[in-house]
Amino acid sequence: MKRKTVLTVVSLLALAGALTTGCHERSPVSPPTGSPERKFTIATVVKLDGIAWFNRMREGVERFARETGHDCFQQGPPKADAALQVQIIEDLIAQGVDAICVVPFSVEALEPVLGKARKQGILVVAHEASNLANADLIIEPFDNHAYGAHLMDHLARFMGEQGQFAVFVGSLTSQSHNEWIDGALARQKAEYPKLSLARDRIEEYDDQNTAYQKTLELLKAFPELKGIQGSASTTAAGAGLAVEERGLQNQVSVVGSGLVSQCRQYLESGSVKLISFWDPADAGYVMNRLAVRLLEGRQIGDGEDLGVEGYHALQRDTAKTNLFFGAAWVDVTTNNMAQYNF
């Protein structure tokens, strides 16, 4: 009985393991149209394979490969799990790639393995990881404070520059979300004195249902509420659903980060006024371009032009010399949402 139990458990776990780690070979790369002097092998490692966001990033990576002739490909774990991402990078080190472009699931978990990669002479370019130590270069789509401030500009416009508003973050420990809100609140204080913050930032744990419930509660607790600024991609959809259900499209404006696919119906109904994001295809493309430039021995400095909209003049961070920002946010309203399929 006991042995049977152990056997079954082991086989169940093995099956579960096989299901979650297997079957993710490199995707084939289309034949190059360009022909570089030296051909580099560059791997892009993302947080999670198969979701819309990183499918879109893959388009950028593959377009870069097509245009330049370098061997570029994208990999990611089937589950959002730092350990699986570490494992993929270990494999890439063993294969001896020239460069790794990485979007870390957890910066802390990836530091050791990325350090190891760099010791073996592999170049590391990172994205969405401004506090990463083991990287040759980190490229962020925008400065977090500037991004949050620009969302506040939109929110204030929709609210007619007056009234009560509330802000959401995924969690109080999420660095980028809180920096966006810091930027937004600084902008509001400086430019929009007639706006007032209803209460401290609300957590929604990156869960649409929570965002929905919290919004319903906000609407009851603050009947005068006129605006909501979200951070996580789930907030706009959740808040939009609540506002639409209450029929308050004309009284309450929701803006925030989000994807067109998630928010299309709420943009259409007017419960979400505007969403903003950066194009992962462009991010994938510029990570690979930066990797090639560094591999070719070029120095990257302030004002570097990567030839992509939003990345024409990179801005170097004042403290951390290998951290660069673009100005690559994309704002979407009903007017231009048809252009985006993710």
């Binding site: 049977k4 169940l12 579960a16 609300i202």
Partner: protein, 323 residues
């Protein structure tokens, strides 16, 4: 006068809930509005249906942690099929499909538990990983954002609909009926049928249950099939409410659901628990989680507040057991 020790758990818990609601209402009168009660009822639906399933398993002396994976699986696959079929879609068909699929997955659990007599915790821990892993690896990780039009219409369907003076409309989601139906079915099953009493008997003394002729394996197939079916129902309703199907939703909430059932008086050692208690437990947790902004609890303190209240409520209603 009856000594406090002999009061039923449900009575004590109900008193705790009422006290909590009165307290919240004193801090913020907006709590006692029709809109708020409609919202709270709707928020109870998915957790409530899941908790009713867990209740059955707990009474039988088992434990299940795969039901959220089953719910996510049934939800996602049902939505994926309905979207692939195109057209208007049918909610009834979707519900049947999700319940059927959940039942099927529950029966897989039953094969290990009733057939091979393996410990329920280990089996459901394993199958939770397998079901969810299979879903993500072979079926899809992308959120399905556009559900069939019939689903969206269903999600907008409300009773007692009215427009408030400010132009705001409120109403009671029709999905609440699913919770009512599930509660009635589980309640009648547990209290009025031989099968239900056999489930209590099984949880009270499994060896004795076998000896009086209860076909334990058969009862376990029914239990885990039913739990799977309820999970499938809850999953699809969740998708309808959210108007999308996210394969990572629900998974991870199993401990909250278990907590609601245990708070409602179900014993993790089996043999004890009731529908009324479970619904009270769910209601308490939903009220707690959805009154933080009304109470003005700072975000930093919200988890502390929820955790502390659950511990205190459990302590109050569990005191009689030790005395």
């Amino acid at each position: 006068m009856k000594p406090p020790g002999s009061w039923r758990h449900e009575t004590v818990l109900a008193a705790v809930v009422v006290a909590l609601m009165v307290g919240i209402g004193l801090v913020n009168p907006a709590f006692w509005t029709l809109a708020n009660f409609f919202d709270l009822l709707k928020a109870s639906v998915v957790t409530g249906i899941l908790a009713l399933g867990v209740l059955i398993v707990l009474i039988s002396g088992g434990i299940d942690i795969s039901f959220t994976a089953i719910a996510a699986f049934a939800m996602y696959v049902t939505c994926w099929i309905s979207v692939s079929l195109g057209g208007e879609g049918s909610v009834l068909l979707g519900l049947l499909l999700a319940v059927g699929m959940g039942t099927g997955l529950g029966l897989i659990n039953a094969c290990f538990i009733g057939g091979l007599r393996l410990p329920t915790l280990i089996v459901t821990l394993g199958t939770a990983g397998v079901f969810h892993g299979f879903l993500l690896a072979f079926i899809g990780t992308e959120i399905i954002n556009t559900l069939p039009p019939a689903y969206v219409r269903f999600s907008r369907w409300q009773g007692f609909r009215q427009t408030l003076s400010g132009g705001e409309t409120i109403g009671l989601s029709v999905t609440v009926l699913a919770l009512v139906a599930a509660a009635v079915i589980v309640g009648v099953l547990l209290r009025r049928t031989v099968l239900g009493r056999s489930i209590y008997a099984l949880g009270g003394n499994p060896e004795a249950a076998h000896r009086i002729g209860i076909r334990v394996a058969r009862v376990q197939f029914l239990i885990y099939g039913l739990v799977g079916g309820l999970a499938g129902l809850a999953g699809l309703i969740h998708a309808v409410m959210m108007r999308n199907a996210n394969p990572s939703d629900l998974v991870g909430t199993e401990l909250n659901v278990l907590a609601a059932a245990v708070l409602g008086g179900a014993s993790i050692f089996g043999g004890r628990g009731s529908v009324a208690g479970t619904l009270l437990g769910v209601w308490l947790i939903v009220v707690l989680n959805n009154s933080l902004i009304l109470l003005g609890v700072p975000s930093y303190w919200q988890r502390v507040w929820v955790g502390a209240t659950i511990v205190v409520s459990t302590a109050i209603s569990a005191r009689r057991r030790s005395s």
